[in-house]
């Protein structure tokens, strides 16, 4: 069976949102929705799972603070302890106030960078990657719903025009 791709293009995010809800209630699978800006409520309407970026960031942050702590411990206490200004440089515990700033910065550094990298990888974004939006106008002012349908596309097309799509294409 040949799969067909149907695009429904909308001019307004509110119309799109209604349309998505309508389509969903008709148990039609939406392959993807392309929008020029984040449309609030769209993820819920599409039934997308909550993203776990924040959790990842937390884990990365923990990694960062651990890394910084171990690094400083190794450098200042284990590897080459020195008497610097009479500070208690031979125990980590006594000298820890000096180490707080770097540990904090490392936490942020790790969390921010690793999370962003995770985000880019998860979204398949990298320099030179090909864009996948079927219509260039989706980054301007058009909202697009993409379907991949086996068999008849009529039902979908009808539904789209009923819910206010300004343009319906099939490929």
């Amino acid at each position: 069976m040949i799969r067909k791709t149907v695009y429904g293009i909308f001019d307004d995010e509110d119309v799109l949102l209604n349309s998505v809800k309508e389509i969903k209630s008709n148990n039609i699978d939406i392959k993807e929705v392309y929008t020029p800006f984040p449309v609030h409520g769209l993820d819920k309407a599409l039934g997308l799972k909550e993203t776990r970026m924040a959790i990842a960031a937390f884990v990365y942050g923990c990694l960062g603070i651990t890394f910084a702590g171990l690094m400083i411990y190794n450098i200042m206490i284990i590897d080459w302890p020195m008497n610097i200004g009479g500070k208690p440089n031979f125990t980590f515990y006594h000298n820890v106030p000096s180490f707080v700033p770097v540990m904090f910065e490392c936490t942020v550094l790790f969390a921010a960078h690793l999370m962003s990298i995770t985000y880019l990888i998860k979204c398949g974004l990298f320099p030179g990657a090909k864009s996948e939006n079927p219509d260039p106008r989706t980054t301007d002012d058009k909202f697009l719903i993409e379907f991949e349908i086996e068999g008849s596309t009529k039902e979908v097309k009808d539904l789209l025009s009923k819910t206010g799509a300004s343009e319906i294409n099939e490929k």
Partner: protein, 461 residues
């Protein structure tokens, strides 16, 4: 759909559809530069070249080409460093803190403010490098394994904290900025035709990382933005706190002050917003963004300046009070000397520009005037530069032992480097204004309906 109170003034003026916004944002990139741009760019570029030559001379001959001496070992270098770092604060604050507080007015200005942050921090980062006696060994401040057995850095040193703070702040700011830029680059990419402008198409394809605006991506995008904002907010505060610790953890009277961290952060916001105003008032003219950068935006920022200015003034007075209250003669003399010593004029400029002039914003007409705001923002920038000068030079030039008291006077190289960084900053900013989407259009589009004047009027009908 979001609703907004009717009495709020619109943040987008004129009849702007989504497409209009796209057009407005992409216009500077697609079109030719106007003559204002070229004039500003030429001036900036000349200053930049002067700065580059001055820096090359410094590295070639030695720090002795500056006006420093055995008593005042830091002067314009660190003044400029702290000043630029301060300027680099408003950007991330506008993006991060205002994002957390869901302030919609940030959206027109946050891109440029962040750009300003990055360019400002880049200028700031130059100074720790070139102020070193042996800048070619600057990599020694990083804990890199080496053949010295391994010899490491000193984590007790505030300068090392600076290294970590500045590099974290700079890189996180860049990431934050770039994550936001990706959808806008995608918009530009899709506006260019592969046939007619292949280079631009390629460039923006590359820069946009293949962004296509999928629902899941947008969902992640929003969360990542939010988390980054959450991370950047304490980062902003920590960075300037750490910079202030360069002074606060020392023993020099006038430096050794516990209120420095909040005082510096406030000062940074103060100067950062002033610089944002300076830039945006220029930019809205140069790249025609009058509709997006409205008097409302300016007024909001003026209110913040008024607030932070008053707080900074309070800090100044607290310092004086603490000096007197401490009963330590060195401390008392340090502050007496600031106000009445040979550098009284710099103290007066600082007080005048930072404490008195912002109070004019109580006046409605001034608060809502582009011209007045522009002038006052320059005043604040000058005042904040002098604040750092006062802290650094007047504390150092007369410290504990009168036998070592001395003074500082800048050399032509000092001046060259300072103006050079200003030139460099504007060169970067002007190039940015011509090649980057200067407004976070994707985000802005989300508020067109709630805050655009056209829609507001429509609702009123």
């Amino acid at each position: 759909m979001q609703k907004e109170s009717e009495i709020r003034d619109p943040l987008i003026l004129g009849k702007k559809s989504y497409h209009d916004i796209t057009l407005d944002v992409s216009k500077p990139v697609e079109g030719k530069a106007n003559k204002y741009w070229w004039i500003l760019f030429s001036i900036s570029f000349i200053m930049f070249i002067w700065g580059v030559l001055s820096m090359a001379y410094t590295i070639g001959t030695g720090i002795g080409s500056w006006g420093l001496n055995k008593t005042v070992n830091w002067a314009w270098d660190i003044t400029n460093f702290v000043w630029w770092i301060g300027i680099g604060h408003a950007g991330t604050l506008i993006s991060a803190v205002l994002l957390l507080f869901r302030q919609k007015w940030r959206m027109s200005i946050n891109r440029s403010a962040e750009a300003m942050t990055i360019f400002g921090v880049a200028q700031a980062a130059l100074f720790p490098l070139i102020h070193m006696g042996r800048p070619w060994l600057a990599y020694w401040v990083f804990p890199i394994p080496n053949q010295f057995g391994s010899l490491w850095v000193n984590f007790n040193s505030p300068l090392l904290w600076d290294v970590f703070a500045i590099s974290t702040y700079f890189s996180v700011s860049v990431v934050f900025w770039y994550i936001g830029l990706i959808p806008d680059f995608a918009m530009l990419r899709d506006r260019f035709n592969e046939k007619t402008s292949p280079m631009k198409k390629k460039l923006y394809s590359f820069l946009s990382f293949g962004w296509s605006g999928k629902a899941k991506h947008w969902q992640r995008f929003e969360e990542v933005s939010l988390v980054l904002a959450g991370l950047a907010t304490p980062l902003v505060f920590s960075v300037h706190s750490i910079v202030s610790m360069d002074f606060a953890t020392s023993v020099i009277p006038g430096w050794h002050t516990t209120i420095f961290p909040p005082y510096f952060v406030l000062g940074a916001l103060f100067s950062g917003f002033a610089m944002v105003e300076t830039l945006l008032i220029i930019m809205r003219k140069v790249v025609n963004l009058e509709a997006y950068i409205t008097i409302k935006h300016i007024e909001y920022m003026n209110i913040i300046i008024l607030l932070t200015g008053s707080l900074v003034g309070t800090a100044y007075i607290t310092e004086l009070f603490m000096a007197w209250y401490s009963g330590v003669e060195f401390e008392q003399y340090a502050f007496l000397n600031r106000a009445t010593g040979p550098y009284w004029w710099s103290y007066a400029i600082m007080m005048g520009c930072n404490v008195l002039t912002p109070q004019l914003y109580w006046i409605n007409a001034i608060r809502k005037s582009f011209i007045a705001t522009f002038i006052l923002s320059i005043f604040v920038n000058i005042g904040m530069w002098f604040e750092r000068f006062v802290i650094i030079v007047t504390s150092l030039h007369r410290d504990f032992l009168p036998s070592s008291w001395s003074m500082f006077s800048p050399s032509i190289i000092d001046i060259g480097i300072y103006l050079g960084t200003i030139g460099f900053f504007f060169v970067l900013f002007l190039l940015y204004a011509r090649t980057f989407p200067v407004i976070a259009q994707a985000e802005l589009k989300t508020i067109v309906k709630s805050s655009g004047s056209e829609y507001k009027n429509k609702n009123n009908d």
